[in-house]
Symmetry: C2
Subunit: 188 residues, 2 copies
């Protein structure tokens, strides 16, 4: 892995586990096994710029997994697969890794405009994929928007609850419930 | 306001706006207009203990507002009032104040067991109120649990999205949608 990539991957991990403010440059150096100078060589803007890049890469990585889940032909199965994927990632990390976007948004949406925008772009990306998939299932556009909003909000919230409880129950309940309550699409 | 109370109120505000790690003791002193010594006099455990107390008080404060919203006779109106209250608080703070519990949970659920437990207790308290209100409306107990989980998750997630977008649209959509999709209670 190239240095720049290693720095980004380490930052994603640190944002997932402990967020932005708790993460110092020395820790990013140590985690990415890079000398101090290379952080500023690759990211002249320092920690903010590293976090921006990390959010962009994490958003794209999640979008790819989301696309895979949503490729299921049955809409209910697709949505359950998405929620199940989030629960599985949380379990695999022994409840350490939250959503890096949510963690940064929680800390910095009010104070760091560049990072707020990076988080917004990430949410827009995921929202768009959900909305498109719902529309594809024949749900009218105004309703696709409303349901994409509910699904994304509920998953981000349930991930936070699950991490806090050290149990995937909130996500598991959601994975079973959402397919049951989704509106049935009407093909025109 | 007494010193201890002033410290707690200042900490709640700082947790809402910027979270735990970004908040230093000097900032708590300044915000609460207390001399340095009084933080350790009132909270020998330092920042962790102040945050624990702040989460407890914030959880109780939100629980009171939640109870008021849920007192509406119509279940849909009650749930919409709860979501509307969260949106109103966010707007009133010009999108600065998030949920202090969510902010602390996002940063520290993985590393600070005392604060993880404080956040868990807060969520349990709010979840219990929602579950009870749904059961009161005649929804069977297994379904009341599932819907309380969806409502709490969706509101926490939509608050995060709304704060990130600097727009209450995610919460507003939820306030309109939830009353429409809630199961109708069957009185035995």
């Amino acid at each position: 892995m190239k240095t720049r990539e290693r720095i980004i991957m380490s930052m994603i991990h640190l944002l997932e586990v402990q967020g932005y403010s708790a993460t110092g440059l020395a820790e990013i150096n140590a985690a990415s096994q890079t000398p101090k100078g290379s952080l500023y060589f690759h990211f002249p803007g320092g920690k903010v710029e590293i976090a921006q890049a990390a959010i962009r890469v994490a958003a794209e990585r999640t979008a790819q997994k989301l696309k895979t889940a949503l490729a299921h032909r049955d809409l209910g199965v697709a949505i359950a697969a998405y929620v199940g994927m989030v629960a599985e990632d949380l379990r695999a990390s022994e409840f350490c890794r939250g959503c890096p976007v949510a963690n940064v948004a929680a800390e910095l949406a009010a104070s760091q405009e560049d990072l707020r925008q990076a988080c917004e772009q990430a949410y827009f990306l995921w929202f768009g994929l959900l909305e498109q998939r719902l529309a594809q299932a024949g749900i009218v556009s105004s309703q696709a928007k409303v349901w994409a909003n509910l699904i994304l909000s509920a998953v981000e919230g349930a991930l936070l609850l699950s991490r806090t409880y050290r149990s995937t129950e909130p996500l598991d309940l959601l994975a079973r419930q959402l397919p049951e309550i989704l509106p049935v699409g009407v093909n025109p």
